[in-house]
Structure formats: structure tokens, C-alpha cells
């Protein structure tokens, strides 16, 4: 293997037996003997091939059930592949989950030692870094308490503080960013950015395209156990966002060539608004055959889907439509995700970069949260008026 390769995955196959009724008792084994057991062999990975170079921050994306987690578990050595193989140049520390091995019945201190030993540290090494871990987790007064008496936030803080101590050739993270509050996520982000600067080899599985764009140097997208796309972060993130726009029954569809993606034009979009302002935008697309429907979604910059609608039965004319929405939203950064579909619901063109805006903090002391709902306080009973559409 070449020196600069960290991981080489070659023609990886993995499937799981999913019997209708899993034989976990002997009676079933004997009673069911002779009867043809209805087994369903589900292929999860079918011929995955790729390489990760040393120093890369490599992203793996894909919709639920696309095989990401299985791939990750094979890289981590938890599952054995059916066919093909993985060659790893160096040592791997995987984080399929934070706080693996934590025992709620043990004190915080004991858990640090237990968890760190599973990451490959000897007792002496943990002694040396124990204070740093406690400092980072900000849990000085709680280390002798049992873990079950910690709040979930405290547990996550402790787990993460141990995890970032892990120094190894290759680190693998699965959706770590999905847990914890905003402050915690910021902390995570800082650590990841440090990894990237220091050329630490990292593999990150995530659903957040914002994270992929911000952190990764290269990415791959899995779909139904095969590599759909591998290469630049921008292309993969676009392809993934687009595949997510496709309404429900997303059968395997070939992604349109890149040129088709950014064709939608948006005009009239400002860069800043106040809560409650009206956003007016004109959406236009080039002449593409078969456009039947358009849809607009408001998305937070961290990838959180806030609100979405589509044109439904409205007949589209002149390859354009006007969209207006009351931005009854809390402060923060947002963007519009716009797509047009054909009559089968397949996404034809798509854009999520042309309208990015910020909602100012209106600094009102009496309002908070992510949305601004119409509300009312009164000293006498409030009559509810049902809205009739």
C-alpha cells in the first residue's frame, strides 16, 4: 500500500440475515426444522471501493438505511465483511457512540478510567490526563457521584472530554454532533476544526451538509449500499441535499449531472430580515420538460428543516413562480431550498445557495425561541376563533 493512504476499502460486501422469526430458542430450531425457514438476506453493502488519504477529513453521507453505519462498523472492526476487505494503515479509534462502556452504577471517576481503558489507555496514562478531562468537562464537584445521578448533559460532557483525549492515527465519528446542546455542539465544532488544521485523519458520518461543507476535505455519498458519488465536498453535499428533496418513495434514481443542479434563479431575496418581515422572492427555472411542481423550504444554516411547502395543484406558467412568506422565525441564519419536480415527484432542478439570509435578534425581552407564533395574553378568557380556510 502506498505510504500516504490511511484506509483502503476494496470491493466491500456485507449482508445480514433477517429471518422472519429469528431462531433464538432451541424449540424454534427443532420445531422449525424441515420447514423452510423464511429468510430474508438483506444486502447492505454491495461492492464499496474507496481510499482515504492520510490527513484527510473524510465525510460519509447518505440517507437512512443507505449502509453508512454498517460501513463505519466494518471500518471500526466491529463487523466482519462478507467479501472484500479493508486495509488500514495505522490504528483506529472509533466513536460509534459517545460514552461506550459507561456504567451508571459507577462513579464519574471510575467511568473515566473504564472508558479510557477501552480507548487504549493504561491506568498510568489516565492518571496523567485525569485532571485535564475533569477540567474540560467542568465536573470538578461531581466526580465521586454515580453516573446515574448525572444529568444527560453532564454525561455527554464527560464522555466527550474523554473522547477528545483520544490520539490515534485515524479517528472515526458517527453522528457525534447530533447530541448535546448548542454550546456543546460549538465545542465539538472547535475540536473538529482543530483536527482539520492539524491534518488529523478523520472519518465523519453526518447528516448535516453544513458540517460536511465546513469540515470535510472530501466526501462520499452512499445510496443503497453503493457509492453514489465520491469527490469534492460541494458536489457531494449538493447531491445529498437534492436526494433529500425527493419526496418519499425515493427509489434509486440516477442523480442528474451537475450542470442541472444550480439552474434555478431566485431574485428579490434580501440578506437580513427582522422577525415577522415578509420575504418575497421570484423563482425562475430554465425551460425543462416535465416540470409539474415547485417547492420551497426554509432551512436553518445547521441543516435543520424548519418549514416547507410545495405548489401542489397550482399550474406553473412561464417557468416561474412568486413566493412570499411571513418570516415568523427566531433569530439566526437560514437559507431557502428550492426545487422543481416532474409529475412522478422526481426532482429535476434544485438550488439552496442563492438565497441565504439572517434574521436579526429583535432584542425583545418578552420573546424567545426558534419561531414567533401569534399569541395572546388576557385577563379575561380568550375566545378561540377557528381559522377557516
Amino acid at each position: 500500500m502506498k505510504e500516504d493512504i490511511a484506509i483502503k476499502v476494496h470491493d466491500l460486501h456485507k449482508s445480514f440475515d433477517l429471518p422472519e422469526n429469528k431462531t433464538t430458542s432451541l424449540k424454534q430450531l427443532f420445531v422449525g426444522f424441515g420447514k423452510k425457514q423464511r429468510k430474508h438476506r438483506q444486502k447492505v453493502l454491495e461492492g464499496v471501493d474507496f481510499e482515504v488519504k492520510k490527513g484527510e477529513f473524510f465525510g460519509i453521507v447518505g440517507r437512512n438505511g443507505s449502509g453508512k453505519s454498517t460501513l463505519l462498523k466494518i471500518l471500526a472492526g466491529v463487523y466482519a465483511p462478507d467479501k472484500g476487505g479493508v486495509v488500514i494503515n495505522g490504528n483506529v479509534t472509533p466513536f460509534i457512540e459517545l460514552g461506550v462502556g459507561f456504567n451508571p452504577e459507577l462513579s464519574g471517576k471510575d467511568n473515566v478510567y473504564l472508558s479510557a481503558s477501552l480507548l487504549g489507555y493504561s491506568r498510568k496514562q489516565v492518571d496523567a490526563m485525569y485532571d485535564e478531562i475533569v477540567d474540560f468537562a467542568e465536573l470538578h464537584d461531581h466526580m465521586d457521584k454515580k453516573l446515574k445521578n448525572y444529568s444527560s448533559g453532564m454525561q455527554v460532557r464527560l464522555a466527550f472530554s474523554i473522547a477528545i483525549k483520544a490520539k490515534n492515527d485515524i479517528l472515526i465519528f458517527d453522528e457525534v454532533l447530533a447530541v448535546g446542546d448548542e454550546a456543546f455542539q460549538k465545542k465539538c465544532m472547535r475540536i473538529f476544526e482543530e483536527y482539520r488544521l492539524n491534518k488529523q485523519t478523520v472519518i465523519l458520518v453526518t447528516h448535516s451538509m453544513d458540517n460536511v461543507r465546513r469540515l470535510c476535505t472530501r466526501a462520499l455519498m452512499l445510496s443503497d449500499g453503493k457509492i453514489e458519488l465520491i469527490g469534492s465536498v460541494k458536489r457531494v453535499a449538493n447531491a445529498y441535499s437534492k436526494s433529500n428533496l425527493e419526496p418519499v418513495s425515493a427509489d434509486t434514481q440516477t442523480i442528474q449531472p451537475q450542470e442541472d443542479l444550480d439552474k434555478i434563479q431566485l431574485s428579490g431575496c434580501d440578506t437580513t430580515y427582522n422577525p415577522g418581515d415578509v420575504l418575497n422572492v421570484k423563482i425562475a427555472w430554465p425551460k425543462i420538460k416535465g416540470v409539474k411542481m415547485a417547492g420551497v423550504a426554509i432551512v436553518r444554516s445547521n441543516g435543520e428543516y424548519v418549514f416547507g411547502t410545495n405548489t401542489g395543484d397550482i399550474v406553473l406558467k412561464n417557468n416561474q413562480i412568486y413566493y412570499s412568506v411571513d418570516l415568523d422565525l427566531g433569530p439566526g441564519a437560514y437559507f431557502l431550498r428550492v426545487a422543481v419536480y416532474d409529475k412522478t415527484g422526481k426532482c429535476i432542478a434544485f438550488n439552496e445557495s442563492k438565497c441565504r439570509f439572517l434574521i436579526h435578534d429583535d432584542l425583545r425581552k418578552d420573546v424567545g425561541g426558534q419561531v414567533r407564533l401569534r399569541h395572546n395574553y388576557s385577563n379575561s378568557e380568550i375566545e378561540t376563533v377557528t381559522d377557516e380556510h
Partner: protein, 263 residues
């Protein structure tokens, strides 16, 4: 394979210490229970088998003889029962990191081994107090306990791998242990059984281990695998131990790669 690299040793150490802390932490007497339990059991059985059934009559130092048997049998049941559940019990770990699978079983065996050592020191004191003669053969005890450890741990490996696939192994093993308890001379001396059957008892390695331990520690009057009939008969239980080691190791290794998906 680097069976006990520094990394695996420290995992083992933390697992065992966590095990101990969790097991005894909400009891007032704590670790003392691992001593008191076999002692109470011993007291009950001693009363029953000396005053009611009188099987201990004529056996020199019968109390020591009985206590040693109970301690050995306790280790065997503890290792196999806790070992059986160890892989499934550590499922959370096994599904998420790639620690060597055998560590789950070995850590539970070592917890039981620590208990055994504590219990044996009580047996030793008790033996001296009871007037058991000091003998050079005491030095052979560790060899017998190594055999006991290897045999029990091998069975634990086999059972733990089976348990991943078939959860009723636990019920079968409980019944099996119950039968084996009476088929092994734990409570009674073999002399109450007709002599022509003695050799057959030693097909069971536990009988050989129990009797050998008593021979070297308590009294040379003990019937053993090699003095019950032919000397060569002693090869039978040893052969069975070796067979168990080979079969368990092979089966465990074969199953280990798919533990993560089967648990």
C-alpha cells in the same frame, strides 16, 4: 495474536474492578459477602450431612473436606453461569468497539478467580484450625486450580457463544449444573458408592478435580481418578478437559466475528 498486550491488560483490569465495585456496592458488608455466602452454605450442608444423613462419618477432617468441595464447586458454577452471560451482557461494547471478544469472558472468569482465592484462604485457615497435617503435597494445589480455571473458563467460552444464538442455553445449563452437582462428589465421599462404579465418576473432570484437591490438601484416604482403578484412567478426565478447550476455542473463534450482528 497479542493475547494480553498492555492495552488488553488494562481493559481487563478495569472491567474486573468495575465488576467488583458494581457487584458489592449497595451491600453493607460489601466484599465480605463473597466469603460469607459459601460459609453459610457450608454451615447448613455440614449440619445436614453430619447429623441427618451422616455421610461424613469416617472421613478424616470432613468439615474441611466439605468446605473445600463447596468452594471449588462454587467457583465452577460462578464462572460458567456468569461467563455464559458475559458476551451478551457486554453487548453494548461489542456492538460499538472492536475490543477482543474473549475479554468479556476472561474478565468474568477472573472476577470469579479472585473470589476463589479469598475463599481458599479461608479454607486454608480452617484446615489448619481443624488439624489438617501440613504436607508437601499442598504445593500441588495450584496445578489443580489451574486445571479448574482452564476447564471452567473453556466451558464459559462455549456457553457464552451458544448463548448469543440460543437463549435457552441458560435453562439447560442450570438443569445440567444441578445434575452435575449430585453426580460429582461435592457433598459425599465416594466411599459411600460401590467400588465398581468409582471409575465412571471420573469421566467427569469436576470429580477428578475435587478429589485430587482433597487428596493433596485434606487426606490421602481420598479416592482419586488414578487410585480408583488403573493409574491410566486419570487420562480420561484430562483428555476431556483438553477436548473442551479445543472445541470451545474453535467454536468461540468461529462465532466471535459475528457477535456484533447477532447479539
Amino acid at each position: 495474536m497479542r493475547y494480553l498486550s498492555i492495552k488488553n491488560r488494562s481493559i481487563l483490569r478495569e472491567m474486573v474492578s468495575a465488576d467488583f465495585k458494581v457487584r458489592y456496592q449497595s451491600s453493607v458488608l460489601g466484599y465480605l459477602w463473597s466469603l460469607l455466602r459459601p460459609l453459610f452454605l457450608f454451615a447448613i450442608l455440614y449440619v445436614v450431612f453430619t447429623y441427618v444423613f451422616k455421610v461424613g462419618k469416617g472421613v478424616p477432617h470432613y468439615p474441611v473436606y466439605l468446605l473445600l468441595g463447596i468452594v471449588i464447586w462454587n467457583f465452577f458454577t460462578e464462572t460458567t453461569i456468569i461467563g455464559m452471560g458475559s458476551v451478551v451482557g457486554k453487548g453494548d461494547l461489542i456492538r460499538k468497539i472492536s475490543i477482543p471478544r474473549y475479554l468479556a469472558v476472561v474478565s468474568s472468569s477472573i472476577s470469579a478467580l479472585i473470589n476463589l482465592v479469598i475463599n481458599l484462604s479461608v479454607v486454608l485457615l480452617f484446615g489448619i484450625f481443624n488439624g489438617v497435617e501440613l504436607s508437601w503435597t499442598w504445593l500441588l494445589l495450584p496445578v489443580i486450580f489451574i486445571e479448574l480455571f482452564v476447564f471452567s473458563t473453556s466451558l464459559a467460552f462455549l456457553l457464552s457463544a451458544l448463548y448469543v444464538k440460543f437463549r435457552d442455553v441458560t435453562y439447560i445449563w442450570e438443569v445440567g449444573l444441578q445434575a452435575a452437582f449430585y453426580a460429582s462428589p461435592v457433598l459425599y465421599p465416594l466411599t459411600i458408592v460401590p467400588e465398581k462404579y468409582w471409575s465412571w465418576f471420573f469421566v467427569n473432570p469436576m470429580a477428578q478435580i475435587l478429589q485430587d484437591a482433597r487428596y493433596v490438601f485434606v487426606t490421602k484416604d481420598t479416592v482419586t481418578a488414578w487410585n480408583a482403578g488403573s493409574v491410566w484412567w486419570a487420562a480420561v478426565p484430562l483428555g476431556i478437559v483438553m477436548l473442551t478447550v479445543v472445541v470451545s476455542r474453535k467454536y468461540f473463534k468461529k462465532q466471535a466475528s459475528s457477535f456484533a450482528e447477532n447479539i
